[in-house]
Symmetry: C2
Subunit: 195 residues, 2 copies
DNA sequence: AGCATTTTGGACCGCTCAGTACATATCTAT
DNA sequence: ATAGATATGTACTGAGCGGTCCAAAATGCT
C-alpha cells in the first residue's frame, strides 16, 4: 500500500522510549545520542520523523499528558466514590516512595521546573496538561460532593487546585527521597482538608 | 597580610551571582561561560577558587539553604504567633504569582527535580536543605500548638512535612504560571488542615 | 525492467562544552 | 632587589553537541 522504503522502527514505540528518557533524565541532560539509542532510530530517520529534539519533547509531553489523563479518568470511572478515587491516587505515592526503582517524578512537574520559564511553547503544553489533571480532580470532587462524602463549603475548582498542588509536591518529595512514612503523613493531612 | 597577588573579584558576590544563575536556569542549562560572565571572574580564577562547576553548585546550594533558613528563622522570631508565621509564608506565594519578574521557584526544589536521582552528593545537600526547612515549620507548629492556635491532634513532624509539601507544590505552580487566585485558593485550603 | 517515493547510513558541519597548561602579573616578606 | 606566593590572561585540548546533506537502499506502481 504505502509507497517507498518501509520504516525499520515502530514510531509509537520510539516515541514512548523517548518519553521515558526525558522523564528520567530531563531535557537538557538527554543528548540526541541517548535518544537515538533508546529509540532505536538512526539520526536521519529521527529528523525525518520527529523534526528536532524540541519537537520530540512536545510530542512526548502530549503523549504523557494524554496517557496520564486517560488512565486517571478510567480509574475515576471505576472508583466507588469520588472521595475514594482521590484517596487512592494520593496514597499511591506511598508505594512510589517505597519502590526501589528509579523515581522519575512526574514529567509535567519536571518539565515545568526545567523549562517553563524560558520556553513558551513548552510552558503552554505543560500548563495544558496540568489543567487537564485539575479537570479530573474537579470531576472527582463534584462527584464526591454529590455523593455526600465531600463538604460543599469549598468549590470544586479550589479543591481540585489544592489537590493538584499536593500531587505536585508529593511527586517532588518522593523524587527527593522522602520515606514512605513522611509521604503517608502528608497524604493523610492533605485528605483532612476535604472533611 | 595576605601573600601573593590580590583577588580582583569578590568571592561572596561571585558565589551569590552563580547561585542566582543556577536558580534561574538550572544546572545543565547554565554554561561555564554564563557563570564566568555573571560572576565576573576569569576562567583561571574560577577553577582556582571554586574547583569545578559541580563543586560550585554544592557551594551555591549550601549558601541558598543557609540564607533561606536564616531568613525564615528571623521571620518566625518576629512573628506574633506560630500560626501567623505559617500563614504569612504561604500567602507570600500570592505576591510571587502576581509579580511579573522571572519566576525562579525554589533552588532546592528545582535541583531536586533536575539532579537528585542521578547525583548522590547533590541529593544529600538538597535533602539537608529540605530537612532544615521542615525544622523551621516544625518549630512554628510547636509554638502554634503551645499558643493554642493549632490543634494538638496532629504531630508537629507530620504537620511540618505537610507544610513543606505544600510549599514545594506552590513554588512549582507559580513557576508554571498559576494565577494569583489559584494560589490563594490553594493556600487557604492548605491552612484549613491546621484548624 | 524502470521510475517515483520514502527511508536509511554515514560523512560532515560549525559550535560549544568543561577543563588544563603555563607564562605573566602583582602582591608580601626579607 | 629579589624570592616566594598567589592570581590572572591566553591559548589550547578532546569530546560532544544538535543538525544537515546526499548518496544508497528498499519498497510500490506502471
Amino acid at each position: 500500500m504505502t509507497i517507498g522504503r518501509p520504516r525499520e522502527f515502530d514510531t509509537d514505540q520510539a516515541l514512548e522510549a523517548a518519553m521515558r528518557q526525558f522523564w528520567s533524565k530531563g531535557y537538557e541532560a538527554t543528548s540526541l545520542q541517548n535518544l537515538l539509542e533508546v529509540m532505536e532510530v538512526s539520526k536521519s530517520s529521527f529528523y525525518e520523523t520527529f523534526g528536532s529534539k524540541h519537537e520530540l519533547l512536545e510530542q512526548c509531553l502530549t503523549l504523557y499528558a494524554n496517557t496520564l489523563i486517560a488512565s486517571l479518568r478510567e480509574e475515576l470511572r471505576q472508583a466507588k466514590t469520588g472521595l475514594s478515587f482521590i484517596d487512592k491516587v494520593l496514597m499511591s505515592l506511598i508505594d512510589e516512595a517505597t519502590a526501589k526503582s528509579e523515581k522519575c517524578g512526574c514529567l509535567l512537574v519536571n518539565t515545568t521546573n526545567e523549562l517553563a520559564q524560558r520556553d513558551k511553547i513548552i510552558a503552554k503544553l505543560v500548563a495544558n496538561g496540568t489543567k487537564s489533571l485539575q479537570g479530573v480532580f474537579e470531576e472527582a470532587v463534584r462527584r464526591g460532593q454529590k455523593e455526600g462524602n465531600i463538604p460543599l463549603n469549598k468549590t470544586p475548582e479550589a479543591l481540585s487546585n489544592y489537590l493538584v498542588n499536593s500531587m505536585v509536591g508529593l511527586k517532588t518529595m518522593v523524587k527527593g527521597g522522602a520515606d514512605a512514612r513522611t509521604i503517608k503523613d502528608i497524604c493523610e493531612i492533605t485528605m483532612t482538608a476535604l472533611k
